[in-house]
């Protein structure tokens, strides 16, 4: 297992190098001069030239790339053009809000998704199963940003029970978290239905049933524990998708997280902040994938002993 972790870490370092390089190339080939954008349209050419020099924008791209890397290794992500604060500080300021939102959404998705999966697998292909799979299809196909707007329409504007935007209280989290959770709930429901249905055919369940347990008891008492592994893996693997979804959903609800920051910084060409934010997301995604694998290995002795296929 240590070997697995070590090799995954090595791949992770490589991926981070690739990710930063990709960002560097994208930003350099994008049109628009940051110095001009920063100073506005009424700046004199001399002012622009001075700022370009201060920011190192006139150097040869390879020199810029190496300088950029030397900075990154020292965990220096440059300064935000807009706020003159260190870019990583700006990004880390916004991180807790995004974590709060994604955690709330994960919690909702796992609880409701597992409940739906349990309901559906009581009688595969029965009426409830079909209703659950229809719900899953709807949840997965509806665009989250539109669902968010419709939830604002119903709960904030018509019923006036929840705030439509902003953050600060528990009530503020509800609508964005539910919006973000919907497609993920569908994934968890489908997956847990499949794994639970499969587990119900295993010999140990047959034993439990022949000893007189009801199907529901066997599901909750025996199959559920074994179906949890894939669900945990999918939670880890889908974290990237969830963070991506959060980026869009945050903009619907004016949630002060990474998503609103990325969209603003991209349109202002605040390159350092964009890089720092995207890099942070990549680190989180990689770390969570690794954690999911480790947890899964700890839960399932077959993986721990047999090693990864």
């Amino acid at each position: 297992m240590l070997r697995m972790i070590a090799s995954r870490l090595a791949v992770g370092v490589f991926v981070l190098w690739g990710a930063t390089t990709l960002m560097f190339v994208l930003i350099r080939i994008a049109p628009g001069d940051p110095a001009t954008i920063l100073l506005g349209s009424d700046a004199t050419p001399e002012e622009i030239a001075a700022l370009r020099e201060r920011l190192g924008l006139d150097e040869n791209p390879l020199v810029q790339y190496l300088a950029y890397f030397a900075q990154l290794v020292r965990l220096d992500f440059g300064e935000s053009f807009r706020s003159n604060q260190p870019a990583m500080e700006v990004v880390l300021d916004r991180l807790p809000a995004t974590i709060q939102l994604t955690l709330a959404a994960t919690l909702i998705a796992v609880i409701i998704g597992l409940a739906l999966g349990l309901l559906a697998s009581r009688r595969p292909d029965g009426v409830v199963d079909r209703i659950v799979s229809t719900i899953a299809i709807l949840f997965q196909g509806m665009p989250t940003f539109w669902v968010g707007i419709m939830l604002i329409l119903v709960f904030a504007l018509t019923l006036r029970v929840l705030p439509s935007a902003g953050s600060g209280s528990f009530a503020h989290v509800v609508l964005p978290a539910v919006t973000l959770a919907l497609p993920f709930t569908a994934i968890v429901a489908r997956l847990s239905r499949a794994t639970l249905t499969e587990a119900m055919r295993e010999p140990y369940i047959q034993t439990a049933l022949s000893k007189g347990l009801s199907r529901g008891e066997a599901l909750r008492g025996h199959a559920l524990r074994n179906a949890l592994g894939p669900v945990i893996t999918i939670v880890g693997l889908q974290m990237g998708t969830l963070l991506g979804g959060a980026v869009v959903v945050e903009n619907v609800f004016a949630w002060p997280g990474l998503g609103t920051l990325i969209v603003q910084s991209v349109s202002y060409r605040d390159y350092s902040v964009v890089q720092a934010a995207v890099l942070l997301i990549a680190v989180i995604v990689l770390a969570l994938n690794l954690v999911a694998d480790i947890v899964n290995a700890a839960l399932d002795p077959r993986i721990r002993v047999g090693g990864r296929a």
Partner: protein, 299 residues
């Protein structure tokens, strides 16, 4: 030991039996529903803009924010109402269908073609080619696809081509992975070995003896990815970094309607419904293709 012969079990609850019968019969009719609905979308995308005149930049402030079904001063009916600048929402839904279809189709074709080429190369040759490809994919999937698309679309000038490139950047990965995995198993089959023994060139083997067997699995993925790409485009346009305002897009209409949500819900509601229905039906179509292919493969 006696062998037990399973008796045909009949559910003792008659309502359940009849319900199963109904859903079984409905199942037959329902099975073609996704195809029909997607077909209607294609038709609307092609023919609709020819039948309905719509100017995305024209404004008609006298007729702004009219609810669905209003009769306008010129005698026409705004079936789905008008938006904040008096433009017809129904026309925006129709023109938006065309935009989504064009972007979805173009992007998915680019992704499939590129992904299949890369996957075929990696799966067939293996070795260094495979390692390089796998690492590139590792890098691309470390970002959520939509974040990469936001960065690319946001950094470059707003336009159709930029949106297609932004969405393709991560969209090809799933095609490459699927093609690679399929190629790995197909290349071990006898007919490939026979072709190799007979001295058929590598390119010919790949094109004539492997590629045809990739069509079925890729077709199912095509539908799935099409849905994701259409959602992605709408998301980018919603955030104001997708298509330019001169192009009608469901995402832009939904975003524009958000300002008027308390007085004119219809501006955001209808394009979103059109978008959701399309994505759901394309997804169902993909599921059908998938199960059909899997059953065909098992036989």
């Amino acid at each position: 030991m006696t062998t037990t012969i399973p008796l045909p079990v009949q559910d003792p609850r008659p309502w359940r039996r009849s319900l199963a019968g109904v859903s079984g019969r409905l199942g037959g009719a329902l099975a073609v529903l996704p195809l029909i609905v997607v077909g209607i979308y294609v038709l609307v995308a092609i023919v609709g803009p020819m039948l309905i005149a719509y100017d995305p930049v024209a404004t008609n402030l006298a007729e702004r924010l009219r609810p669905p079904g209003s009769v306008l001063a010129d005698g026409s009916t705004a079936i789905l109402g008008t938006d904040g600048t008096g433009r017809d929402v129904f026309a925006q839904v129709v023109y938006g269908a065309r935009t989504s279809m064009i972007i979805g189709a173009a992007t998915v074709v680019i992704c499939a073609a590129f992904g299949m080429l890369v996957g075929l190369a990696a799966g067939y040759w293996g070795g260094a080619v495979d390692i390089v490809l796998s690492r590139v994919i590792d890098v691309l999937i470390a970002f959520p696809g939509i974040v990469l698309a936001i960065v690319v679309a946001g950094l470059f000038e707003r336009g159709l081509l930029v949106v297609i490139v932004a969405l393709s950047l991560s969209g090809w990965v799933s095609f490459a992975r699927l093609t690679r995995a399929s190629t790995l198993s197909i290349k071990e089959r006898d007919w490939v070995a026979a072709a190799r023994v007979m001295g058929v060139s590598t390119i010919s083997i790949q094109a004539r003896h492997i590629a045809p067997f990739l069509v079925a699995p890729v077709a199912a993925l095509l539908a799935l990815e099409f849905g994701l790409i259409v959602l992605g485009e709408a998301g980018l346009s919603f955030l104001g970094i997708g298509l330019p305002p001169s192009t009608v897009s469901w995402g832009q209409t939904i975003a524009a309607g958000k300002e008027y949500l308390s007085t004119a819900w219809w501006i955001s509601a209808f394009p979103g419904m059109a978008l959701a229905l399309l994505v759901i039906m394309v997804g169902l179509l993909g599921d059908q293709l998938n199960s059909r292919y899997q059953r065909g493969g098992a036989r």
